[in-house]
Symmetry: C2
Subunit: 225 residues, 2 copies
DNA sequence: GGGCCTTTCAAACGTATGTTTGAAACAGAC
DNA sequence: GTCTGTTTCAAACATACGTTTGAAAGGCCC
């Protein structure tokens, strides 16, 4: 208990604060005082703030990527030979995320928000770390997407994947706030699973959209209903 | 020339640096040295760093929201009575953004990136400022979306709007990085206009997706091709 | 108990930040 | 030229940051 208690408390506090406020906006002093540990503990156990950021990501990304690999294995086994469909691939990913053992009820949205921040905040060291450590499941997901959308050009597919990533990371990362707004405005409760259930069809439809208009339509009279 | 020269140089430098690095990661010293003005000039002319951030947004958001209002006016006039379609509404927004008079060739992507950052980086003061100053065109856009998708339930529409926002904000906020990756991987150049031209069909298709699966499909054998 | 390694702690270090200051430079009006 | 209001400038201010230090405390084997 002694050794890892401090480490885990730091990781818990850092994870939550990073997700709430971003990396540069979260100081070690905020983290250590939330974790109720000494300021020097972060540098003692992790070495630096950047290394702490990496550790926060590694703690959920390592088991997640294992789960995901297994889900992809199962999926490909079930399809023996023929490539999985887009919906199947997206659901495999979604289920792996949702079914992950969570440390607390906010687990999933923190997880998503951190991924979004990793992409958005231009922290060079983080991007390098993630690319080095988790390139394999990422490439595999990309390959599955490619096989599930052979009709798309590489460029179209690339951008549509970015759009999917954005819709997902953004929505999941702010899902607490969004759920609250919805609760207040329409009086509806929404679980993360339900958001995912709404998101996947949206993504699949967007991914399979027919027309990529490379020239904006004239602003005058044409309606593209 | 004397007075506003310094002000504009500060705004130009700040705009570019904010878009490149984010708000907290950009110091006043970086801005003033890039603008070749004295450090104290920012506080003299704007009052504070936060006020400078607001000024950067106001400089492009005020003319943009005027352009947008006009575009919506035109659109509604052309449709006399019947509500504009989803595609028309999205294109009105996109065109207003793309056709805005730019200060330089990077104008549009800086503009987009800043909007993405505004949503992403949790700068409370910025969100408050934007809500106070630009709530009208935003509400109008929401109203048009509602009229263009009468088939959706309020809840579905709400979430799908969030998905659209996410895809847009996320893509735009990292669009430079994404363009670079694409350039290196596939050797393809991409303009902001082209990204927008790819994004709109994606969004429209997602928005109009038929099925909202409220229960995730069983992980065993069903394929939802 | 004494020795040894790990962990905690309060304090300090050096650096960077946003902001303020007071004097200097400049402008235009009379 | 001199006065007045505005703008620039170098310097300093107070504060916050990530990191380091050296001593104290704790656990564990013999």
């Amino acid at each position: 208990m002694a050794q890892s208690d401090t480490v885990d408390r730091i990781l818990d506090a850092a994870e939550e604060l990073f997700a709430e406020r971003g990396f540069s906006e979260t100081s070690l002093r905020m983290i250590t005082s939330k974790a109720k540990v000494n300021l020097a503990a972060v540098n003692y156990h992790f070495g630096s703030k950047n290394a702490l950021i990496h550790a926060v990501f590694a703690r959920f990304l390592t088991p997640f990527s294992a789960t995901l690999e297994k889900a992809f294995d199962d999926l490909e086994a079930r399809c023996d030979g023929t490539p999985p469909t887009l919906n199947q691939t997206l659901w495999a990913l979604t289920e792996s995320a949702v079914r992950m053992p969570q440390r607390n009820e906010k687990g999933i949205s923190i997880f998503m928000r951190l991924l979004g921040l990793a992409y958005t905040q231009s922290q060079g060291h983080l991007r390098k770390f993630l690319e080095q450590e988790y390139s394999e499941p990422f490439s595999r997901f990309m390959r599955l997407l490619k096989e599930a959308t052979p009709q798309l050009s590489s460029v179209d597919r690339y951008w549509r994947i970015q759009f999917m990533l954005g819709a997902t990371a953004f929505t999941m990362s702010s899902s607490d706030a969004l759920r609250d707004i919805l609760q207040n405005k329409l009086g509806v409760e929404t679980s993360v699973q339900e958001i995912a259930a709404r998101l996947v069809p949206f993504l699949a439809a967007g991914m399979q959209a027919q027309d990529t208009m490379l020239i904006p339509p004239p602003s005058t009279k044409v309606s593209v209903a």
